[in-house]
């Protein structure tokens, strides 16, 4: 019991990581894949934040009467990583929207590489 509670954050990290990674691999739907990717990244953020906690420490803000405070660096790192995550999500969703427009579906299993060069080049020229 104590192993579970004292390492609670790490159990959450592992669980989230596995759920996220499973979603990325096993789901065919591109939006679900991106959601899985987000979960996967979130688990790493929790791992980072957990490493910055100092037991008994307060928030790392300069003020009177505070001697012990948590390490602020992981929070900054996680903030940067969140920004990266937002960028990846928006690029991924933008691609998913354009795939939906081009193929009419975002189920990865329905999409093959069997397109023909010539036909596509022709369509491309007509669109211009």
């Amino acid at each position: 019991m104590s192993t579970i509670l004292s390492f609670f954050n790490y159990w959450v990290v592992v669980a989230l990581m596995m759920i996220g990674f499973y979603c990325v691999i096993a789901r065919g739907n591109m939006v679900k894949k991106i959601m899985g990717l987000n979960l996967f990244q979130t688990s790493v953020f929790i791992l980072f934040v957990t490493s910055g906690k100092v037991s008994g420490g307060s928030t790392p803000i300069l003020r009177e009467g505070v001697e012990i405070y948590s390490n602020p660096l992981p929070h900054v790192i996680v903030l940067t990583a969140i920004v990266v995550g937002v960028a990846i999500t928006s690029v991924g969703l933008a691609l998913a929207v354009r795939i939906q427009e081009a193929y009419g579906t975002i189920e990865d299993d329905h999409l093959g590489d069997d397109d023909d060069d010539e036909r596509l080049a022709l369509e491309d020229r007509q669109r211009r």
Binding site: T59, I61, V83, S90, L93, A94, V97, E101
Partner: protein, 150 residues
């Protein structure tokens, strides 16, 4: 959604508060938790709420897509400019100490300017992402309508 009275009243009350809170986070970032990124996102959230309730066209009257694009680049360039100013005044890149004689004032000036650049870029980029997705949808629906009844 624009015809729902409750939404309109609540939004009219909330949006200024959200934007004010965004500015608070922006300019207290060097003393308390906050900073350019959080502020930019909160500020843009206010605008997006406005766009959701009053329509994208009205929201784009407040700030046009072209203006967002230019502001996004300008924020990055402001950041780079402050960084280069440190180099020009004899320090390293992003070195704020040479900016002013007093070290504390120099750090404060540097970080506020840099974070302002970050805030502007983040706010406009989040607005841009929203605008592009929202526009795409309306354009796409127009194409579908054309296809169904020629």
């Amino acid at each position: 959604m624009s015809d729902n009275g409750i939404l309109r009243v609540v939004a009219r009350f909330l949006i200024p508060l959200i934007m004010l809170f965004g500015l608070y986070i922006q300019f207290h970032g060097e003393y308390s938790p906050g900073g350019g990124f959080q502020a930019g996102v909160v500020f843009a959230a206010g605008w997006i709420l406005f766009a959701l309730i009053y329509g994208l066209d009205n929201a784009l009257k407040v700030i046009s897509q072209r203006a967002m694009y230019i502001l996004a680049a300008a924020g990055v360039l402001l950041y780079a400019f402050v960084g280069l100013l440190g180099v020009a005044m004899g320090g390293r890149f992003l070195d704020f100490y040479p900016l002013l004689p007093s070290p504390h004032a120099a750090q404060q000036l540097g970080i506020i300017t840099v974070e302002f650049g970050v805030g502007v870029t983040v706010a406009t980029v989040v607005m841009l992402i929203y605008t592009m997705f929202a526009r795409r949808k309306s354009e796409w629906e127009a194409v579908l309508r054309e296809d169904s009844d020629p």
